[in-house]
């Protein structure tokens, strides 16, 4: 964990409204674990005031260049423009300064028994799954990525997963890429075929809720990566809590998404009809 004043290496639009940003980040390739996140401050003034949380898509090292530029370690984010912070981020360029707090939070627990893994991503929820896929593939396990989105423009980076050796399955609402329909329908089929698989999911609340009921019914292990509104990212403000599994009106039990999460074992959480509460 560190707070780095650093610079952007590149920032480019990869699909309408989606960007990829690499940031100079010494130490990240050794420290960052799959499923962890960072808090990014893109401006020195107070508009917007708070940092924004982003999952770590990948880390790596740029080779030394013959111009004399040494090796550079970086962290890469993939983000969707949704409001003032991400809008501002999308205007930044190589060399612009940012403040990077991280790596933060508890990432995925690598299931020691399962050798079949189903990674389920909805839209931008794909982000934290890449490093997980990398790690599992390195172990020699079978990794399948099931990814859903509104249309083909919302399906990101799957060729990179494929290069790791991950089999990918795509479902879009309008059928513009892969099959037409919900990614959870793909999950049901795959679970029938690989009933011993461990499932890892990140995406919109409604998707997570459906994934949870499928996995619960099939009695397979599920880890979910949650989003929540965050102010600090380090466990200080308690703004980011989600109800834990014992939560009730009389005995509320809250878990801190930034410190105890963002990845939770599904059984740790309360799953009301509308999916895990909290955040957006």
């Amino acid at each position: 964990m560190q707070d780095l004043k650093t610079v952007i290496l590149h920032n480019r639009e990869i699909a309408p409204g989606y960007f990829r940003m690499a940031i100079l980040a010494p130490g990240y390739p050794q420290q960052a674990l799959p499923g962890q996140f960072i808090m990014l401050r893109v401006q020195a003034n107070s508009q917007p005031l708070l940092r924004r949380p982003f999952g770590i898509f990948k880390t790596g090292t740029l080779p030394a260049e013959c111009s004399g530029m040494p090796e550079r370690e970086f962290v890469e984010l993939v983000y969707k423009v949704v409001g003032i912070g991400t809008q501002l981020m999308s205007t930044l360029q190589r060399g612009d300064e940012v403040e990077l707090l991280g790596p933060l939070g508890q990432g995925f627990t690598l299931d020691k028994t399962a050798t079949e893994h189903l990674l389920v991503g909805g839209g931008i929820g794909l982000v934290p799954l890449f490093m997980l896929a990398e790690t599992l593939c390195r172990r020699g396990d079978r990794v399948r990525l099931l990814v859903g989105g509104r249309s083909r423009d919302d399906i990101l980076a799957i060729t990179e997963f494929e290069r790791l050796g991950v089999e990918t399955y795509v479902a879009t609402d309008d059928g513009s890429l892969g099959e037409e329909g919900l990614v959870t329908a793909v999950l049901e089929r795959k679970l029938n075929k690989y009933p011993q698989a461990a499932v890892y999911a990140c995406g919109p609340t409604l998707m997570l809720n459906a994934v949870r009921s499928i996995c619960h019914r099939q009695q397979v292990a599920l880890q979910v990566s949650l989003e929540a509104l965050m102010a600090c990212g380090v466990g200080a403000c308690l703004g980011c809590v989600v109800p834990g599994h014992q939560h009730s009106e009389d005995d509320p039990d809250y878990l801190c998404t930034c410190r105890q999460g963002p990845v939770f074992d599904a059984d740790e959480l309360k799953w009301p009809e509308g999916g895990p509460e909290g955040g957006e």
Partner: protein
């Protein structure tokens, strides 16, 4: 030039009702966890004091989410005073606080006079706790939910009751959500407060026009951050004029310049809140900035700056 060159390291030490602080910068309650959360980012031996989250007699779960909303140059929070309660605080958090040489101040609250007194007694017994800060911005459940800190009689009663069972400096934290803060300040001074800290958050609201709902599950929340600084500064100024006891200035302090403004109008120390959430190293930058300012201005002792407004 000659005078400036002589000042190597200005003295930033201040005295707060007998409590010696190495500098006047400390966290505001609820923005610093129980201290340990910030150890990776900040040398806790570099700040004036450590301040804990508000502690209550029993553990408190807090409000449903969403609990926070960002607003123009500020944020609203309706955390609902979630905390582990005094027993777990003593068991799990105090051992770490005992390892610090920096003075430790514990913020606490209650929903009845009795709860305040019980927590105060427990805190009295803890050698690791150097001072306490009484949050009176809480509803008195037994009295129909009227907030202790908005009614001079109720505020005086809780302060004098706590004072009687406490053997360490008592800081009383005032809410800004009153018509005249000087009335409250005098009431708690007369009731035995050793120090006044002000201000707590300003009650506010945010609306989501797309979802046609209030942003916060609780409806209202407390506004903090740069947005409240001018209001806080005015109130600190007024309270300093109204009472004899030392005052800690709080509200929207993000930089050394902000802190210096509060000190200039007479605050003996400052608390930094929302800035910790934005930048966990904020207080270290503020301390360094104050030191640099003093050196550049030829101020040898920060006490010469405190309350030295030219008027």
């Amino acid at each position: 030039m000659s005078k400036m060159a002589k000042i190597k390291k200005p003295s930033l030490a201040v005295d707060l009702a007998g409590l010696q602080l190495r500098n006047p910068v400390m966290p505001a309650s609820g923005t610093f966890g129980y201290g340990q959360e910030f150890a990776p980012y900040l040398d806790l031996e570099q700040i004036g004091a450590v301040m804990t989250k508000g502690i209550s007699l029993r553990p408190k779960a807090g409000n449903p989410t969403p609990r926070i909303a960002e607003t123009a140059s500020g944020m609203l929070n309706a955390i609902g005073l979630q905390n582990v309660g005094i027993d777990l605080f003593i068991r799990d958090k105090v051992p770490y606080l005992e390892t610090l040489t920096t003075p430790v101040i514990v913020n606490f609250f209650g929903n009845s006079l009795d709860e305040y007194i019980k927590v105060a007694k427990r805190l009295s017994e803890l050698p690791a706790v150097d001072a306490v800060e009484l949050n009176i911005s809480c509803p008195n459940v037994k009295q129909g939910g009227i907030v202790f800190g908005t009614e001079p009689g109720a505020a005086a009663e809780v302060v004098s009751s706590v004072r009687r069972c406490l053997n360490k400096p008592l800081i009383v934290k005032l809410t800004p959500n009153v018509t005249d803060i000087t009335v409250m300040a005098r009431a708690v001074e007369d009731a035995g407060a050793d120090v006044i800290s002000c201000v707590n958050t300003l009650t506010g609201m945010a609306v989501d026009i797309h979802k046609r709902r209030l942003h916060l599950a609780n409806g209202t929340g407390g506004l903090s951050g740069p947005a409240i600084k001018p209001v806080a500064l005015r109130m600190v100024y007024q309270v300093v004029q109204a009472v004899e006891i030392p005052v800690i200035g709080i509200g929207g302090i993000m930089t050394a310049e902000d802190a210096l403004e509060f000190l200039l109008v007479g605050a003996q120390a400052v608390q930094v809140g929302t800035a910790n959430l934005v930048n966990p190293g904020a207080m270290a930058d503020i301390v360094t900035g104050i030191e640099t300012f003093c050196r550049n201005q030829g101020i040898e002792d920060i006490n010469d700056w405190i309350g030295s407004l030219d008027q």
